[in-house]
């Protein structure tokens, strides 16, 4: 196979596999920048994927599925927000609890409603997101180098993939160029400063958490309506945690988040492509090792290469005025 072809194939699947990571990591960005740590990205994505699978099947509409995913994920976020902002609970415990609850309850509900053993019914074409052919794809295919890149790498993805990549500059703009972003970042660094500036700390944090819910919902819908034809149990398979790793890796900044997710997406694509092909010199690499690579990479890079990742200073700490 010629090299360009191989490259395009890997790049294509890298983009596909990074999409949910980017959405989830940006989700984490919004809540963690507001000072609410969220280990429950995984659970919210899975809950969203499940809701999308169910509703898209019943309503035979992908849009309805997406909406349902967002609603469910936002509701889960609000539970996390209530526990950690209003009740000042431990944010890690609350996030873990959400992961467990969603992992268990989706299986029970799925079985009760559809009796298909840990999956929702396969979705027909109309109830799923379709790949979008950008204009001039065929016309340009003949152009050397750029043609195939345009046709096979840039064109032909799902709407949600484009949305995910558009969300990167959008998040940057929101965070650094709007009033909301300024306040959001401030509340994650020093809620006292926000409070004395006459802004409600609680409300700001809830808004961060809701943004997180929306993006996680979209990430979930992508999994069950775009990447697959329905929900299967545990289909997030740790993507929420990888997104979290990418977030730390990127030091809570939107553009580096995208690159970190692309890197992890690439490792995933690479693992899938080569899991049965023996590599030169090394031979056959166990799949498990490949799958562990993103985590190993995070630890190694964090330890030595990218310097200290300083989380938002007030992150994980409930805001208490009167001790």
């Amino acid at each position: 196979m010629d090299f360009l072809q191989l490259f395009l194939e890997l790049a294509q699947s890298t983009v596909r596999l990074s999409t949910p990571l980017i959405l989830a990591a940006l989700a984490g960005l919004f809540t963690e920048r507001a000072g609410v740590f969220d280990i429950g990205l995984e659970g919210k994505m899975l809950g969203g994927a499940f809701a999308a699978g169910c509703v898209a099947f019943v309503a035979q509409s992908a849009m309805a599925g997406l909406l349902a995913a967002i609603v469910v994920s936002v509701l889960l976020s609000l539970v996390h927000g209530y526990a950690s902002i209003t009740q000042r609970g431990n944010q890690i415990v609350s996030g873990v609890a959400i992961n467990f609850i969603v992992a268990g309850s989706t299986v029970i509900l799925g079985e009760a409603w559809f009796h298909q053993g840990g999956r929702t019914p396969a979705l027909a074409e109309g109830a799923r997101f379709q790949a979008i052919e950008l204009p001039f794809t065929e016309a340009l295919r003949g152009v050397p180098l750029l043609g195939p890149i345009y046709a096979d790498l840039i064109s032909g993805h799902q709407a949600l993939t484009y949305l995910a990549f558009l969300m990167v500059p959008a998040s940057w703009w929101i965070l650094y160029r709007t009033r909301f972003g300024l306040r959001l970042r401030a509340v994650g660094e020093n809620p006292g400063a926000v409070d004395t500036a006459g802004i409600s700390v609680i409300w700001m944090r809830y808004r961060g958490v809701i943004c997180c819910g929306i993006l996680c919902g979209i990430a979930g819908a992508y999994l069950s309506l775009a990447a697959n034809a329905g929900w299967t149990k545990g289909m997030t398979a740790g993507k929420g945690y990888i997104a979290l790793a990418a977030l730390i890796f990127a030091k809570w900044r939107p553009v580096p988040v995208m690159f970190a997710c692309l890197l992890f997406g690439f490792l995933d694509a690479f693992a899938i492509r080569y899991q049965s092909t023996p590599l030169p010199l090394i031979g056959k690499v166990p799949v498990q090792l490949m799958q562990a690579l993103p985590y190993i990479l995070t630890v190694v890079l964090l330890a030595g290469f990218i310097g200290k990742a300083i989380p938002p200073r007030a992150g994980g700490v409930p805001y208490v005025k009167e001790r």
Partner: protein, 511 residues
């Protein structure tokens, strides 16, 4: 009697069991500077935070410009024209000056338009009040004096007519404090009202029109500044006569306990902070290091205490070298008889989340008397803490209270009690009375002199020249990292001031 800018009626506030404000009445006249003084923990910050809407009073009424209003949150206070500079700054440390000033007053949901306006407004304020700061500087890289300017700018940017300053001068050098007072005078001339909390009675006498005194949560008196005296205020504050002069006999210096030779220390960025400093500290004497903050005193203390590595030089404690350029071990130094009261008690001296009793033994927890085999002997630790609480009059007298819940002055006493009660040979102290009330200052000064009279060697660093002059037997002046002169404690303030400003050349350093 002019009109009232602020009137508080029957303000009452409790934090759990702590009754911080008891039925407080206060009148502040428009266009005046009104001082508020009181011991540590008297409830000054609490009262002002209630006025600013940061805390909610349990009872009581607030009148601004004669109208009763409810201040439910800081927003309401800002709308009523009240601005506040908090005792512990409320700044987002990794934001720029501009972003901090704009936060909460951005004008529109897109920042750009507001940024242009804010820049222009900052320029104007800078001109009007001589409040220079680079709008694009990041807060954490600014010295505290400038950080405070940003806080003042924040209030002025929001068009505050009533400005509350909670212990603004605690962190300022004398020159910076003078500058601040000129700004306050200017605000007053413009008809604005200023409420100033401070522990420095001299400042109260110099700048305020009226002064109110709080004691243990109560408002005990309000006086016109012209018609009162430092002595009366001190007595009102503490509830007994306070000795404002330090009484001490002659020193009887003995052997050299601590000897520093050619010590050089650089900071993280490679800037030389301590430059070839040598000094000898003898048993039974107090050596004071005077100097404007930031001239290397802090680094000198830290290097001797073994918490900052020196580049070169030699330090001997009781005749034995300390490995200051390598791995000096603070725990070992403690065992060898060196005690250290760090300048920054919040970051270095205390673990604020610990109980008082735990902080009272911090660093000495290996001592067998606090242990039962492998585990800590909690009863012994608490008994020990109770004793120190009694002796140092730490309030509230509760060894099990979280340290964060003590007021600043009482936190300082916790550290002092811990370090002094060990009876070290050499005591090095940074800013012993920063943020501490007059009653406590009197006590701390007495204890320091007692230590000396017991034959201990004391090295004292303070930016308060009065304190240095009152306590020291010899004064070394530091400027730009060097010791630029040694003087007797009766040297005039002017002479020391010149040395501190680096006016007299460093030639004399060759002592």
């Amino acid at each position: 009697m002019g009109e009232l800018a602020i009137e508080l009626k029957g303000i009452d506030k409790s934090f759990g069991l702590v009754h911080a404000n008891k039925d407080i009445n206060l009148k502040v006249r428009k266009g005046t500077i009104h001082g508020i003084i009181g011991e540590n923990g008297a409830g000054k910050s609490t009262l002002m935070s209630i006025l600013y809407g940061f805390y909610q009073a349990d009872r009581g009424e607030i009148l601004v410009d004669g109208r009763a209003i409810s201040i439910r949150d800081p927003n309401a206070a800002i709308a009523a024209g009240i601005g506040m500079v908090h005792q512990h700054f409320m700044l987002v440390e990794n934001f720029t000056v501009l972003e901090n000033v704009m936060l909460g007053a951005e004008d529109s949901w897109i920042l750009n338009a507001g940024i242009t306006k804010a820049r222009a407004e900052l320029k104007r304020l800078e001109k009007e009040y001589a409040l220079e700061v680079d709008p694009d500087a990041v807060i954490e890289e600014l010295p505290v004096g400038l950080q405070q300017r940003v806080e003042i700018l924040k209030a002025l940017y929001r068009k505050a007519d009533i400005l509350i300053l909670d212990e603004p001068t605690g962190v300022l050098t004398p020159a910076e404090a003078d500058h601040l007072f000129r700004i306050l005078e200017q605000l007053k001339a413009q008809g604005k009202t200023v409420i100033l909390i401070t522990h420095k009675l001299r400042e109260i006498m110099a700048i305020t029109d009226e002064v109110s005194v709080m004691r243990r949560g109560e408002m005990v008196a309000t006086r016109e500044t012209d018609k009162t005296s430092v002595e009366e205020l001190a007595e009102l504050m503490v509830g007994r006569r306070v000795l404002l002069r330090v009484e001490k006999g002659a020193a009887h210096p003995g052997d050299v306990k601590l000897s520093v030779k050619n010590l050089t220390v650089r900071d993280g960025r490679g800037v030389t902070m301590v430059d070839d400093v040598s000094l000898d500290l003898r048993a039974g004497e107090i050596v004071g290091i005077a100097g404007v903050a930031g001239n290397g005193q802090s680094e000198l203390l830290e290097a001797i205490a073994g918490i900052r590595r020196a580049v070169s030089g030699r330090v001997e404690l009781n005749g034995r070298a300390i490995d200051v350029t390598g791995h000096a071990d603070p725990a070992e130094l403690r065992q060898r008889g060196l005690a250290h009261v760090p300048e920054d008690r919040h970051h270095v001296g205390l673990v604020l989340k610990f109980e008082e009793s735990e902080n009272a033994i911090l660093g000495y927890h290996d001592d067998p008397k606090y242990r039962k085999g492998f585990i800590l002997d909690v009863d012994a630790i608490r008994a020990d803490a109770e004793e120190k609480i009694q002796k140092y009059d730490i309030r509230p007298p509760n060894a099990r209270l979280k340290t964060a819940n003590f007021s600043g002055g009482n936190q300082q006493k916790i550290v002092l009690a811990r370090e002094m009660e060990r009876g070290p040979d050499v005591l090095i102290i940074g800013q012993p009375t920063r943020g501490v009330d007059v009653g406590a200052i009197e006590f701390i000064h007495k204890r320091i002199i007692e230590m000396r009279d017991q034959g201990k060697a004391v090295l004292l660093v303070s930016v308060e020249l009065d304190e240095i002059r009152a306590l020291s037997d010899r004064i070394l002046v530091m400027f730009a990292g060097r010791v630029v002169g040694e003087r007797a404690p009766d040297a005039s303030e002017g002479e020391l001031g010149l040395l501190m400003a680096g006016v007299e050349g460093p030639k004399e350093a060759a002592q």
